[in-house]
Symmetry: C2
Subunit: 222 residues, 2 copies
């Protein structure tokens, strides 16, 4: 087999497992969001702020993906969250199989939303369906305003782009309007939010977006 054949086989096998995951999530009636970004764009901080703000009627579980360490899961637990850690041991993205392997550790029946925090990588996770309802890409203002066109695939695949760390805008040369325009060119259906997960800006809109997606999923399935 050539490298290309193997890649196609890996992706097609991943798609098969992702479909099975999606059926499991559907039966449990949970909304699943796959958070993707570069390292340090604020995925875990967004989760911390989300756990603080979600209404009690929206019960959350977290699947944490990382190359090494359980640091992110420790932060989630310190915030009262529940979840599992996946360590890829060098792998640069989560796969559907990695997610399938931990589903037995989660009480999906008593959850409403599952957040999957992918490995910090703006490229590879965009290719791998995990069985989620939507991908959410985070892009920090500190990463510079030239990024969407340089890393287009993840914006093609995402339903929402969270432009995080807007609290640092006064200290940066960053044209947020330019970033929003580039994302709109790459994917006109991708919604965009300006957020500071640390300071709280935009978090109400994010929580409302989650609640609306959950309600929408349940309406379609009922």
């Amino acid at each position: 087999m050539t490298k290309v054949d193997v890649r196609e086989k890996v992706l097609s096998e991943n798609e098969r497992v992702a479909t099975a995951n999606r059926e499991v999530f559907g039966r449990a009636d949970v909304l699943v969001l796959n958070l993707v970004s570069s390292p340090g764009s604020g995925k875990t901080t967004l989760l911390e702020g989300t756990l603080d703000r979600l209404p009690k009627t929206v019960r959350a579980l977290v699947i944490e993906g990382d190359v090494c360490t359980a640091r992110d899961l420790d932060r989630v637990k310190a915030r009262g969250g529940t979840g599992v850690q996946i360590n890829t041991g060098g792998g640069c993205h989560l796969s559907a199989q990695m997610v399938a392997d931990v589903l037995g550790q989660l009480d999906l029946a008593s959850a409403d939303v599952v957040f999957i925090e992918n490995v910090g990588n703006l490229i590879c996770p965009s290719t791998y369906d995990l069985g989620e309802d939507a991908k959410v890409v985070l892009l920090a203002t500190t990463e510079g305003d030239d990024k969407p066109m340089k890393y287009p695939a993840v914006f093609h695949e995402s339903s929402l782009a969270v432009l995080n760390k807007v609290d640092l805008l006064p200290h940066l040369a960053y044209d947020i309007g330019k970033v929003e325009k580039e994302i709109a060119v790459l994917n006109p259906r991708c919604e965009i939010m300006r957020v500071s997960a640390l300071r709280g800006d935009g978090m109400d809109a994010w929580i409302s977006w989650i609640a609306a997606r959950l309600a929408d999923k349940r309406r379609r399935e009922s």
Copy 2:
């Protein structure tokens, strides 16, 4: 062939081409530095500041790696730099073959240093030798102070860690000493510099480091 077999074959073929690249660089008597980091950690800004500051006796060439666009090469050229752009078209790292394919476009004989700016990715580029003399990892303060242990491979492989964007430290909760300690645990031979490529902090030390590595390479080869 299994996925593992193919990966081993790809890496062993990469090693063969990297060795050939290293011989080409050796014959041209150039120092080659492979810059690796997350998207937006400041690799191109470091190159801009480097081109401004390198003494005239150290002539530089740049190989720019990116998924899409020639934005980074445009910035290098706007600074008076010379180089070539590699677009991986979705690929998450440069390979030795991609570098080999552009060497004919570079006048290595009239250069002293070649900077290779890798694709923005803190994971995959650490596995691929391009024929460089040293890997230099950049980590921006804005990425958070928990990163080395979460992304250990690139620190194992690097000769120098540039902790960039120290100009933003007054606005961040960031323990730079903790980061330095973690890097030292992962790789005691990895040198560490505190830099603001944008404001200029630490740039003299970085230029001196390049000059010392170049002198050292030429001494060993003469």
